[in-house]
């Protein structure tokens, strides 16, 4: 293939193998492209994430940093070699413990674990932690991985699948788990059509610049391996995309002007080996850097030009909630606290960079890529390419983490453009740095608030004002601006309230959706101020929150009468842990001078689904003439578990056992629209559609057999049997006419949460369902170095109805890991931290043990009482840690993350005489 290919003999998974390739080729690349062993994943190509860990002569190494020459005549073990017909015990343990969520880090984790277990079959948690410390995971919070590695058994009882009617509430192993542990799962980068063109993106090296292309035709002509170049001029549709159509403003390829560092301006298309090895510096583009505006406060002044016309002072939108008379209430408050908090860009840092392929199939453009929102991808891609959406098919691959950023399109319109223009299949894999530079971030917030209480410690009023840096384009800025004022009160009775949040454009990276849409930022201010206010009131921080917790029948700051409010129950559940931890801290601090312990608590609430906007899901369910039961499940499972939870709900609604369900999708050609995997909406919204579809199919079967609702249905041997007391009736399926979608029996139901628009004061019913939670963090602060270690977290979350406790715990632990990262280490600086060694996410050693307490305060609207959970879990973590730091050391942090030097300064400020 290349100028200097050499034949290497290696043994791979005990099989002698020859590879003809360049001796300096990355082993990861040789395994994946030359040998088709796609189980070894690539997350960074820099040794930072460990996803590509393989064993070389039994020792773990990063395949991405291993040149092929180094493995000549050696033995390599990859995830494909762990199992044959049966999974290896370590793989079974991963499934049993829910240690794989999205699955992208799983092969690396499994290989590191395999090296450990070969020498130490019964490791301790500390030994497991040490052995796995070179592999990053962004989903699980690591604790279930440690538990799995410490519980690898040759023989164990396989957990039985629940019987009919008992799926909901059962700790079912994820139904799509096997392919995540055996290396066969197909992520975005794992399928490449055989003759695919490779797509390389030319990006702006400046925060703001004008640019002009030189002679592109000459470049194509003279550059080996390059077949074509495409720019904005090649786009035939409307060159804008955006998750909220009225605000769509982002070009797929910028024209003349780049508004952020990393913005795509052109595509170079050609042979993959050439393009990835080539120095593209000669690409003919001339940049003229212009003054960038990176400060959202300056952006709102006359000093900064408007980045988008029609958005004066760079304010995209202002969200607003007002009730009562907060000014009067605060002026009369017995106790008042005021504070500020500034947060940073936070990168999603999923281990899978964006990747996928596209091809033309007859009349249809097919795009197969990682995503959280196939139908939105279809709409945005259709808009950019000027196609009828029906002419585009989106096939989501497994998605190696999303957390909000894979809702917006990234590669989809680019792949579509190339496939249409060339008529050939094409493939793209973002590098780690371009994934980080070009996709969305959590909005940095600059927030101020005042909160007042009366002499009894009851909140009388609150004022909140926040500026959120939405970066160069709108993305989810409007959602953040609207969600924050609705939630900034926290789950507390706040009779007088004024909250404003502005989404402000800068030349920073585009801020979009990230688990919580601005609410974690706002909670970091409100919940830390609550501690100060509790102190002023002379009330214990947990008790203070219990006093003010919303209860059923209370009205929210939006004037919504709340039902199924579980915050009080969550706080109550923490009481014994809180009391014990406080005592333990006092005891510890008596004899420790350098390390000080503290305990902090914080709450959350979060509305599930879109804010006052329609967001329906549709579920189809059918039975075939030969007796198969198929569920068209379009809620993309990005690791959170919708492929398991949605069938669980549907199974019990229908009354058939879970293991009879076959899953179809997600795929826009095969599954109806289940909306985006976002806003903690899938268990609630798609779950309710699945419940309704299951119930409807059950009704049809009962009607056909003329039985009552108590009848028991079984599906076996091509027939349905319906039994009630002494009566049994059979429906022979192949006697029935084949109807719509080829089913002899089917149901399709849509659910859209009942909300109402918010008025000019933000009053209305923004969400139909809310979830609640409270977390307690125990921390140790090294007061000489400013280092913070979180030693334990207890998390009580109200899920309404627990559909799957195993997966729920996984969500809690994973959300806490991201909250911990946001609190202590995560700070994206454009142009400087676009990699996983300068941008820090928690490692396995940073995650404390987590005790999850699942509260079930039934929701009247949610399916079987269930509420959302995915984002709630992240919200209380950072403020609980901040409150713990202050309790331990007196340090009051006003800027996140609380890196050691910031903590050190805050400790010094706390000690300084006032």
């Amino acid at each position: 293939m290349t100028a200097q290919s050499v034949e290497f003999s290696v043994t791979i998974n005990a099989r002698p193998t020859k590879i003809l390739a360049h001796p300096g080729k990355r082993l990861s690349d040789a395994l994946r492209t030359d040998l088709g062993l796609i189980g070894t994943k690539v997350g960074c190509d820099a040794g930072d994430c460990g996803a590509c860990t393989v064993l070389i002569d039994g020792e773990p190494q990063c395949a991405c940093l291993t040149p092929l020459s180094h493995v000549a005549d050696r033995e390599i073990a990859t995830v494909e070699g762990l199992s044959a017909d049966q999974l290896a015990p370590v793989q079974e343990a991963f499934l049993r413990h829910g240690a794989a969520q999205c699955g992208i880090c799983t092969p690396g984790m499994l290989m590191a674990a395999t090296a450990l277990l070969a020498n130490n079959p019964s490791p301790t948690p500390d030994q497991a932690e040490e052995a796995l410390s070179g592999v990053l995971c962004r989903c699980t919070g690591y604790r279930k991985i440690i538990a799995a590695v410490c519980d690898v058994r040759d023989q164990h009882e396989k957990r039985l699948m629940p019987s009919a009617g008992h799926a909901v509430g059962a700790p079912v192993e994820r139904l799509d788990g096997r392919q995540k542990v055996d290396g066969t799962e197909i992520f975005g980068a794992d399928y490449r059509p055989s003759d695919a063109l490779y797509v390389h993106v030319i990006r702006s090296p400046y925060h703001a610049a004008q640019f002009k292309f030189g002679d592109l035709a000459e470049f194509v002509e003279s550059t080996p391996g390059v077949e074509a170049v495409f720019t904005a001029d090649d786009i035939q549709g409307e060159n804008v995309f955006g998750v909220i159509p009225p605000f769509a403003d982002q070009p797929a390829l910028a024209k003349d002007q780049a508004r952020f560092m990393g913005e795509a301006v052109a595509l170079v298309v050609g042979d993959q080996d050439f393009l990835t090895a080539m120095d593209l510096a000669p690409f003919p583009v001339v940049w003229t850097e212009i003054e960038a505006n990176l400060d959202p406060l300056v952006a709102q002044t006359d000093k900064a030009p408007d980045i988008h016309s029609g958005r004066p002072n760079n304010v995209l939108i202002t969200g607003n909630v007002k009730t009562g008379d907060p000014a009067a209430a605060l002026s009369k408050a017995a106790h008042i606290v005021r504070g500020e908090m500034t947060t940073s860009f936070v990168e999603h840092a999923y281990i899978e960079p964006e990747a996928g392929s596209a091809w033309v199939d007859g009349e249809a453009l097919v795009i197969q890529a990682c995503t959280q929102a196939p139908y939105m991808d279809r709409a945005d891609t259709a808009r950019v390419l000027g196609l009828d959406p029906e002419k585009i098919r989106i096939i989501p691959t497994a998605t190696g983490g999303g957390f909000g950023s894979k809702i917006d399109v990234s590669i989809q319109p680019l792949l579509g453009l190339v496939a249409l223009k060339t008529g050939r299949p094409c493939h793209i894999v973002y590098t780690r740095s371009e994934s980080m530079a070009s996709t969305t971030k959590r909005h940095p917030g600059i927030m101020r608030a005042s909160i007042g209480a009366d002499t009894n410690g009851k909140i009388v009023g609150m004022h909140f004002d926040g500026d959120f840096d939405t970066g160069a384009y709108a993305s989810w800025g409007p959602t953040v601006a609207n969600r924050v004022p609705v939630h900034a009160s926290g789950p507390y009775k706040t009779p007088n309230y004024l909250a404003q949040a502005r989404a402000v454009h800068t030349n920073g990276p585009v801020s979009g959706a990230f688990r919580g849409f601005g609410v974690p930022q706002a909670a970091s201010l409100q919940e830390t101020l609550y501690d100060e206010l509790a102190e002023k009131c002379g009330i214990d921080p947990l008790e203070f929150r219990r006093i003010n917790a919303l209860q059923d029948g209370d009205t929210s700051v939006c004037g919504q009468e709340m039902q199924g409010v579980g915050i009080r129950e969550c706080l109550d559940a923490l009481v014994p842990h809180w009391n014990a931890a406080k005592l333990a801290a006092v005891e510890f601090n008596r004899s420790s001078t350098t390390i000080k312990r503290g305990v902090g608590v914080a709450s959350c609430w979060y509305g599930c689904g879109n804010t006052s906007l329609s967001n329906p899901s549709t579920i189809r369910l059918g039975i075939t003439a030969d007796g198969r039961l198929l569920l068209h499940q379009g809620a993309v499972d990005i690791g959170q578990g919708s492929n398991t939870v949605i069938p669980q709900i549907c199974a019990d609604a229908l009354g058939l056992p879970l293991d009879q369900f076959e899953l179809i999708g997600a795929d826009t050609a095969l599954t109806p629209d289940c909306g985006k995997t976002s806003a903690s909406r899938q268990t609630f919204v798609t779950g309710k559609a699945a419940m309704l579809a299951g119930q409807e199919l059950r009704r049809k079967i009962l009607r056909m057999s003329n039985m009552s609702s108590d009848a028991v249905i079984t599906l076996q041997d091509g027939k349905l049997t319906v039994a009630e007391q002494s009566t049994t009736r059979e429906i022979k399926l192949d006697d029935l006419p084949s109807g719509e979608h080829g089913y002899v029996l089917h149901a399709e139901e849509t659910y859209d949460p009942p909300t109402t628009p918010l008025d000019e004061n933000g009053q209305g019913k923004p969400y139909a369902v809310y979830g609640y939670g409270a977390q307690m963090a125990e921390v140790e602060v090294d007061i000489k170095l400013g280092a913070v270690k979180v030693t334990n977290i207890v998390a009580a979350h109200d899920l309404g109805r627990v559909i799957n406790p195993l997966l729920a715990e996984g969500q809690i632990e994973g959300g806490i890991a991201q909250g911990l990262g946001m609190a202590l280490m995560e700070e994206y600086v454009p142009g400087r931290t676009a990699n996983l060694h300068d941008y820090l996410i928690p490692t396995i050693g940073d995650m404390p043990p987590v005790q999850s307490i699942l509260i079930e305060k039934t929701d009247p609207e949610g399916p079987m009482g269930a509420k959302g959970l995915g984002e709630h879990v992240l919200i209380p973590t950072a403020p609980a840690i901040l409150n713990g730091i202050r309790h331990a050391s007196g340090a009051k942090l006003t800027k996140l993350p609380a890196l050691p030097h910031r903590v050190l300064r805050a400790i010094q400020e706390a000690k300084a005489p006032k």
């Binding site: 200097q4 360049h22 590191a112 080996p224 090895a277 740095s433 600086v829 490692t843």
Partner: protein, 288 residues
């Protein structure tokens, strides 16, 4: 297929052959590749490359009357598993914190030095061991003190026709006990905010030899000679109480960057020096 422009990748087993080739070819010297491949997004190391990992006798740890000799391509895992006297405990501790186990299994001692990062984990330890760098070219062998070999971030004395063949530690500097502390914002996979290595030899409870160095607090890691002079000859027990911040701060020149600010780095360096020295002074053992 048009010519890819990929140049030569040479991986000899013989040192003489390697040096011959290097004298005729301008090439990058590759060892564990944990830095070289991390620095590119290309699917392979672009050439020309001299890969020294197959050269016999370049890997491994040995000693003679005068020196401990650490072959250039000795990996960090080799160090962790080697039977070494307590003076090398700091090096072993540092080895365990170089990237991850995956990196330690591939990354080499010489590569760590040639990469010349101000945050190279091995450097503070080698400085306390008075390490010398053996450089070989086709015609010459020369030995430089490590402090002369490292010129600044990504800058060394290595000539284009030379490779580092070994790191030498004089037997006279391999006495006493040592320790290493690395400080960062998370537990694993750290590029340090500051790090400290120290080695102390004692005689009847009195410090007879002391070496202290600080890394990540300047363009290159540095020895704290003023502080060493002040502590030498003092009683070991409680020796950390004799440390003054100014002696440390005068010797280092930290910068503000993403990981920390300079002021906090100075504070951290002082505190780490105290802790490192205290850990060596806490449990005095009778000198041999």
């Amino acid at each position: 297929m048009k010519d890819s422009g990929l140049a030569h990748y040479f991986r000899p087993t013989d040192l003489g052959l390697a040096l011959d080739w290097l004298s005729d070819n301008e090439a990058r010297v590759a060892a564990g590749c944990t830095d070289l491949l991390a620095a590119t997004t290309a699917p392979q190391l672009s050439g020309p490359v001299l890969d020294v990992t197959a050269i016999q006798n370049l890997r491994g740890i040995s000693k003679d009357d005068r020196y401990w000799r650490f072959g250039a391509t000795t990996t960090w895992t080799d160090v962790i598993r080697a039977d070494l006297p307590p003076a090398f405990d700091s090096l072993k501790l540092a080895a365990r914190e170089v990237g991850s186990q995956q990196i330690q299994n591939a990354g080499t001692l010489a590569g760590n030095l040639c990469n010349a990062s101000p945050a190279a984990d091995g450097v503070p330890c080698w400085l306390t061991l008075d390490a010398q760098i053996e450089l070989k070219s086709k015609h010459t062998t020369r030995v430089l003190p490590l402090s002369s070999f490292l010129n600044g971030p990504r800058q060394t004395e290595l000539a284009t026709d030379e490779i580092v063949s070994a790191i030498l530690v004089p037997q006279t500097s391999a006495g006493g006990r040592s320790s290493f502390l690395k400080f960062g914002a998370r537990k694993y996979l750290i590029i340090s905010i500051a790090m400290v290595a120290a080695r102390i030899t004692e005689n009847r409870g009195v410090v007879s030899e002391i070496a202290i160095s600080v890394g990540s607090c300047g363009a290159v890691a540095t020895r704290l000679t003023e502080l060493e002079a002040a502590l030498n000859g003092q009683p070991l027990l409680g020796i950390e109480t004799r440390i003054t911040d100014v002696m440390i701060e005068n010797a280092i020149d930290p910068i503000d960057d993403l990981r920390s600010d300079a002021v906090s780095r100075k504070i951290a360096a002082s505190e780490l020096v105290r802790r490192c020295i205290a850990s060596l002074g806490q449990d005095p053992v009778a000198s041999a």
